[in-house]
């Protein structure tokens, strides 16, 4: 398969590449949002614990 044939996908380029593109996007977005959820929570907790340490330990 030549590179042009690869891009053209036998005339189905729009369909194949939009599907593949959408898939890659969904997979990557899942990874990013999951990782961000963890890091945001860690940051929030860090802030909260520091706050508690500063204002005296919480009950």
């Amino acid at each position: 398969m030549t590179f042009m044939e690869f891009l053209n996908m036998g005339g189905y380029a729009a369909y194949v590449w939009s599907s593949v593109g959408l898939t890659v996007a969904v997979l990557i977005i899942n990874v990013i949002t999951a990782r961000r959820a963890v890091s945001q929570e860690l940051a929030r907790l860090r802030g909260r614990y520091t706050n508690e340490a500063n204002t005296g330990a919480s009950q």
Partner: protein, 245 residues
């Protein structure tokens, strides 16, 4: 074996285990998906009827299979949480839902894109497509119910019941092509006597399916980590771990 299971239900242990497993699942997923995409988009021969258009199979089928798998996984985790009252099991169920919803959307979208050139339509109200759409609504309903209930314990148990009630839809999606005259093609992979695809087409497909599973493993464990942090935020082990970093 039970000690292993019991250890698993301890949040700090599970957290550490997840942290070590995620990179394995993640890199394995990347390797499998990239190589299988190459195998499917470049190496596999074009289909006799559909030409190169059939290559959408390499993203559509794995996402459809994963959408069902995630739901069953989520429902099982919810059941374990209810029966053995394991908070961690509920955390796993919660983690699965957004992933499942996005993958179901992907299955519907790629299916729709594939349908346009092959069936001549973006959508058809046949049994398989409709029941997969219902699956998406079930995921969204699960997430909606969780966000509507403030108390974590009540939210866990209510959404567990919802997840279990929705399980009836899963066999409907799977067997819809057998039970009804459907526009969607019948079973190709899980037939008696093996898949109906030649090996050079089937191999990348299996690679993609396993790659998607590994992807799910990595992302789900990441989200479970986050759930654990939220649920255990008042415990000593979390405080120690966060402040020591």
């Amino acid at each position: 074996m039970w000690t292993w299971f019991h250890k698993l239900s301890s949040p700090p242990h599970f957290y550490r285990l997840s942290a070590s497993l995620i990179p394995w699942f993640g890199w394995l997923a990347a390797a499998l998906i990239i190589s299988s995409l190459y195998g499917g988009l470049v190496l596999a021969p074009a289909d006799y009827q559909q030409g190169d258009g059939f290559r959408i199979i390499y993203v559509h089928v794995p996402s459809a299979m994963l959408s069902l798998f995630i739901y069953m996984f989520m429902a099982t985790a919810a059941a374990i949480g209810m029966i053995w009252r394991m908070k961690l099991a509920h955390a796993v169920a919660v983690a699965c839902a957004p992933i499942g919803a996005s993958i179901t959307f992907l299955a519907l979208a790629t299916g729709s894109i594939w349908g346009k050139p092959m069936w001549g339509t973006w959508w058809a109200w046949d049994a398989r497509l409709t029941s997969e759409l219902i699956l998406l609504f079930l995921y969204l309903g699960y997430m909606g119910l969780r966000s509507a209930i403030d108390d974590t314990n009540r939210a866990d148990r209510a959404s567990a019941i919802l997840a279990l009630v929705g399980v009836v839809n899963v066999p409907i999606v799977h067997y819809s092509v057998t039970w009804w005259n459907s526009l969607h093609q019948g079973s190709t992979l899980m037939k008696k006597g093996g898949p109906a695809l030649p090996p050079d087409m089937a191999l990348p497909l299996f690679g993609m399916i396993i790659g998607f599973m590994c992807f799910f493993g990595a992302v789900a464990l990441t989200r479970v980590k986050r759930e654990v942090l939220v649920r255990e935020q008042n415990s000593k082990w979390v405080k120690d771990m966060v402040t020591s970093k």
